[in-house]
């Protein structure tokens, strides 16, 4: 060790004290044969229990897989001296080349010799270690046993699985088939034997199967009836839609004629009539009540709820401000999309307005009840708007100018309608409108020759005004869904 050299070298003056102190240190425990006068050397003897713990630590399979540096560092952190660590490394042979050459050859223990012989195959492959398994002591063999155990387990599982599958295929299924055939044949025979023979279990089974089949047939018939009913429903709803279309057309014609009249008479009041027209035309739509005031442009009646884009200036400031507060960004007046960016991720700022505006809507729904309901309301509006736009596009030439605008103005696809759980909140906003919707339903009902039960019940409920709020939405949803 290095201690003898320090003895000779540290003959400097002013080290009389350290010498004494070194002796004092040695008296605390059994004095080591080499006692150093230098204070800066650890002169504690090797503590056997610490070495034992270190040996156990180093023998652990997980530790054996870690670099030597980490093992040393760990032991040093635990307070072992260098000598103790070296001793522990000696006792637990290490496959790393730095320790192997010096320690393994010198140590006379038989365990270590056997381990040394096995170290070469140990590093090679597990298959080559197979013949030596019987010789390996527990210390080294544990990891390999683990491996072979795992392999055996996997193999057994696979074999058992395959065997059971084969068994099932070969044995059980033919049995089933034969049983079924038996039943069928017995059933035939059973009809002949019926008057005189005891009903056997198979016959009972056959009878049960028969009834099951009959039940299935009935179910099929019922479902068929349901289908027919659905088709009829669809037909009726389509009729309803046609009626609505007709009404809408009439309304528009009226508005146009009025406009023409107004043009002829007074040009300054155009805006007012436009807004009136808007209100008239929007009366069909049950949702634009709250938003009516901010869009007075002509022909955009179906659009305003969908105008999340920045192109329409008179967007309600309160909405944006609320959004701004949440995103704490003051520059969002005309770019509601950019208000979304800090919330999502800063590096996603380059996305097209479609997705960001949908995100905005979805974000709105996350904001809270009020905002969520407005967003849902907007989504509903959009779907109705889309429907009506489709109708309008079929309608006439003077709508063509609007339709492309509208379709162009809606670059984004509305998100999926949220679950009906929130419908109550949405209805709170829709409440003013159902009255108009009711009128339309009544009129349409009168026009229909074959009112469906459902529709009748719906109108009844809406007339009573009990739980009408839920119904219009459902009708609308079905309208959207079916048509």
């Amino acid at each position: 060790m290095a201690n003898p050299s320090t003895d000779t070298k540290i003959e400097n003056p002013a080290l009389a004290e350290p010498r004494n102190e070194g002796d004092q240190n040695a008296t605390t425990t059994t004095p080591k044969p080499i006692s150093s006068p230098s204070v800066f050397v650890n002169s504690e003897p090797i503590r056997p229990e610490q070495v034992e713990n270190a040996v156990k630590f180093l023998s652990h399979p997980k530790v054996r897989g870690s670099p030597v540096m980490y093992r040393r560092s760990f032991l040093e952190k635990k307070g072992l001296t260098k000598e103790e660590i070296d001793e522990a490394f000696k006792r637990v042979p290490d496959p790393s080349p730095t320790v192997q050459g010096a320690t393994v050859n010198q140590d006379p223990q038989p365990k270590l010799v056997a381990n040394a012989q096995l170290q070469a195959p140990a590093q090679a492959q597990q298959t080559s270690a197979a013949p030596t398994r019987g010789v390996i002591s527990r210390v080294i063999s544990q990891p390999r046993f683990h491996w072979t155990h795992a392999i055996y387990a996997v193999g057994i599982l696979a074999v058992s699985g395959a065997g059971s599958a084969v068994l099932f295929k070969n044995a059980l299924i033919p049995r089933l088939k034969s049983w079924i055939r038996k039943i069928a044949s017995e059933d035939e025979n059973g009809v002949v034997r019926k008057p005189g023979s005891k009903p056997s279990a198979t016959e009972e089974a056959a009878a049960a199967a028969k009834t099951a089949a009959e039940a299935a047939a009935q179910v099929a018939k019922a479902s068929q009836e349901m289908m027919d009913m659905n088709i009829e429903e669809k037909r009726c709803f389509r009729n309803l839609m046609d009626m609505l279309e007709v009404q809408q057309r009439e309304m528009r014609e009226m508005s146009f004629t009025i406009r023409k009249l107004e043009d002829q008479t007074n040009s300054s009041s155009v805006v007012r009539t436009y807004s009136q027209d808007y209100r008239l035309s929007s009366s069909k739509q049950p949702y634009t009540n709250g938003m009516a005031e901010f869009n007075s442009l002509p022909g955009r009646s179906s659009l305003p709820p969908a105008s999340v884009n920045s192109s329409i200036p008179p967007y309600p400031k309160s909405y944006i401000e609320e959004f701004n507060d949440l995103s704490s960004n003051a520059y969002q007046q005309h770019m509601p999309n950019s208000g979304v960016a800090p919330r999502s991720k800063p590096w996603e700022a380059g996305q097209p307005p479609n997705s960001s505006s949908t995100y905005q809507l979805q974000a709105d729904s996350d904001l809270g009840n009020i905002n969520g309901s407005t967003s849902r309301w907007q989504q509903k509006n959009v779907r109705i708007a889309e429907l009506e736009n489709e109708e309008e596009s079929k309608v006439g030439p003077y709508y063509s100018s609007q339709a492309p605008e509208q379709t162009a103005r809606r670059p984004w696809v509305p998100p999926q309608p949220p679950p009906v759980a929130m419908a109550e909140a949405a209805e709170a906003i829709r409440r003013p409108k159902p009255t108009v919707q009711k009128e339309q339903q009544l009129t349409s009902d009168h026009k229909l020759d074959q009112p469906l039960n459902e529709l009748q019940s719906v109108t009844d409920i809406s007339e009573t005004g009990g739980a009408p709020e839920a119904r219009p939405s459902e009708i609308v949803e079905e309208l959207e869904g079916n048509c």
């Binding site: 002013a14 650890n42 040393r72």
Partner: protein, 318 residues
Amino acid sequence: MPAFKIPFNGYSVKFSPFYENRLAVATAQNFGILGNGRVHVLSLPPSPGAPIVETAAYDTSDAVYDIAWSESHDSILVAAIADGSVKVYDTNLPPASNPLRSLQEHTREVHAVDYNPSRRDSFLTASWDDSIKLWTVDRPISVRTFKEHAYCVYAAAWNPRHADVFASASGDCTVRVWDVREPGSTMIIPAHDFEVLYTDWNKYDDCILATASVDKSIRVWDIRSFRVPITVLNGHNYAIRKVKFSPHRGSLMVSCSYDMTVCLWDYMVEDALVGRYDHHTEFTVGVDMSVLVEGLLASTGWDELVYVWQHGTDPRAP
């Protein structure tokens, strides 16, 4: 005296052992993460009201993490650079011929440099490549390399009495005591459960060592019985970056920490915290006690200021 504003974030400050009014500051741009660095040599004014004056400044291509004055020549500085090099400067030479030498051997950042006060011809550098190198000023290559730590070495400190003994603090949570004549470390002290950021020897008792750690405590050790510390000093709220023993009073220490304060401790006293200065507004990472003027403290931090004040006074007082 008023604070000195440096353009970059301060990393280390050292009083000159020759001139009581001179100090060197190691600074780095962008908190030392990326960018240039600068070494400042400042001169303290003779009268307290006057400002601190910069007498020399040397720019470096990477952050300067530590600075040390030579004990043999009054104008020579050694700087530890973040690109792994060690640069030697001479303030007597014109800026064009500085740095005097650039020693590139460490493979990672050099975090600390300490000059041997006894031998006066050699210095140590501690680096994040887990090694400590011993150099002499006249040789272009290192004399010894001590590689035993398992993680970054944050500090190395020569023993003030024994010219060949030094201690090193590392991120592997140990403090090692080395003897230059030995091949490896002679003592391994498992000082803390977390990274040890600095270590310093007591100037009056050569067996006492103080360690500063990420675990917000300073531990004072006697290497003769190093299993248990003499005392544990708690009081900082965040990791402690440096701890330095006073050259004038045996049990007095100054420490600086990420809690933006500089604290003075006396570990022999019942209530060890004897002073606390929170003049900085960012991490304080450099502190030093003057050898020539008793009670003169200097500190620097990431708030780009260097304060020099007398213990007991307000550092911010003009």
